[in-house]
């Protein structure tokens, strides 16, 4: 991608970096416990809310930005007025959970993150839960799996995607480039 990056769980690195990518797979409750154990919660609050560094949450990383989740009944970082909820599909043979596969995004607002990415581009999804957002203006993308749910968010310097740009061929690479270029 032509940019220097480090993988780190060290608070010093996180406070001193220019931008943060916050990926995650696994269990919401366990991930929050791990962040606490690593003393990263205050570090993240400082980097994101005080120093206002751009951050891109990916999958569970985005979910953790919500107030809380039904997965493990845990509290999240609380940057978004949102909850993480179970999929509630009508046809369980057609709409299997976890939702695994390629699906289209519907772009809901202008954003630098969406530069050169066309509406209805396909991205790769792998998740069992999704966001339920109270403030509609925070929604950047929506996606339909039985019903429409928020698949990307943008609020000030906070960005999040439910899908995996790092696994989504060219559209995904473009999104990461856009984030780097912010």
């Amino acid at each position: 991608m032509g940019v220097s990056s480090i993988i780190s769980s060290d608070p010093k690195d996180i406070v001193n970096t220019e931008k943060i990518i916050f990926p995650g797979v696994g269990h919401f409750g366990k991930a929050m416990s791990k962040l606490k154990e690593l003393n990263l919660v205050d570090t993240l609050h400082e980097a994101v809310l005080v120093k206002r560094k751009p951050i891109l949450g990916i999958c569970l990383g985005m979910e953790l930005m919500a107030k809380g989740s039904q997965e493990g009944n845990a509290e999240g970082l609380g940057w978004l007025d949102a909850e993480v909820v179970d999929f509630n599909v009508s046809d369980k043979t057609k709409y299997k959970i976890p939702c695994i596969g390629w699906n289209q995004i519907h772009i809901k607002k202008d954003s630098l993150l969406m530069n050169n990415i066309s509406d209805l581009s396909e991205f790769y999804f792998l998740h069992s839960y999704h966001l339920k957002i109270n403030n509609q203006s925070d929604i950047l993308n929506e996606t339909q799996y039985d019903y429409f749910y928020p698949s990307a968010i943008e609020k000030d310097n906070i960005f999040g995607v439910q899908y995996h740009p790092e696994k989504s061929h060219e559209a995904g690479a473009q999104l990461l480039k856009n984030f780097i270029g912010l």
Partner: protein, 251 residues
């Protein structure tokens, strides 16, 4: 719109890419990394890479190989071969795979799937159920690259794995493997309509119509194949290929 995934399955034997017929007669296809690169260029939906000798030889799939794949592709991939501890899963995921495929150890120790899904989330844990028709007994779940049969019927095992937290099931017909005569639609349908996690059909696909049939009639959520994506023509010349997604009409 959400659409079914089309997944090439690549079999590894001594780090060479091979293709089997009914889990036997392994034919050398080429260099796996080269094939992975081509599938990435063809924008495949996802790849499954299985080391078919790992369990038999009591070792794990090569992590260097997994890492190598991860560096080559911008697409999701799942890896299997000799996985039998949480450390194995962690190592494969850290090497860049999205999902880990478990077969032998899942049948030997069904509780392992529970531990694995609790530790890494269901979406990272795929169980591959290899199914073979046994004389007088009907279909049975097999392990160790099909060399050993278990007491589990495919449906019993599928439901047990779902209950223990597997996030996806690959249903592979050993009898159809490499025949290119079509999927075992009845088997796929039976399992897909009995579990609420995604089911991947594998074994027997020989033409694009087979993929559509497994989706429409088998209710598979993803369509996987080996021979279809590495051979071309009746004489089975080796040619890595992948269907044009715009030409396949599923609905």
């Amino acid at each position: 719109m959400f659409r079914p995934r089309i997944i090439p399955v690549l079999l590894l034997k001594n780090l060479a890419l091979v293709k089997s017929i009914q889990f036997k007669k392994h034919r050398y296809i080429g260099d796996p990394i080269n094939a992975v690169r081509i599938f990435n260029d063809l924008k495949a939906d996802e790849l499954v890479l299985l080391d078919i000798e790992a369990s038999k030889n009591n070792r794990l799939v090569s992590l260097d190989f997994v890492k190598n794949v991860g560096e080559e592709v911008y697409m999701p991939f799942a890896v299997g071969g000799g996985v039998k501890s949480l450390e194995d899963i962690k190592a494969i995921l850290n090497a860049g795979a999205e999902k880990v495929v478990i077969n032998t150890h899942a049948a030997q120790n069904p509780n392992f799937i529970k531990e694995a899904s609790e530790a890494f989330g269901s979406s990272a844990i795929v169980v591959c159920i290899d199914v073979k028709k046994k004389m007088f007994k009907g279909q049975r779940t097999c392990i160790s690259s099909g060399s050993r049969s278990t007491a589990f019927t495919p449906i019993e095992f599928a439901q047990l794995m779902e209950k223990n937290g597997a996030g996806e099931l690959i249903i592979q017909s050993i009898d159809r493997d490499g025949t290119m005569e079509g999927y075992d639609i009845e088997l796929i349908k039976y399992i897909s309509t009995s579990v609420s996690v995604p089911v991947v059909a594998l074994g027997g696909a020989g033409k694009e119509k087979d993929l559509i049939e497994a989706y429409q009639h088998g209710h598979a959520n993803a369509l996987a194949a080996g021979s279809l994506f590495v051979y071309q023509g009746k004489k089975r010349g080796v040619l890595i290929n992948y269907p044009d997604k715009n030409e396949l009409v599923f609905e």
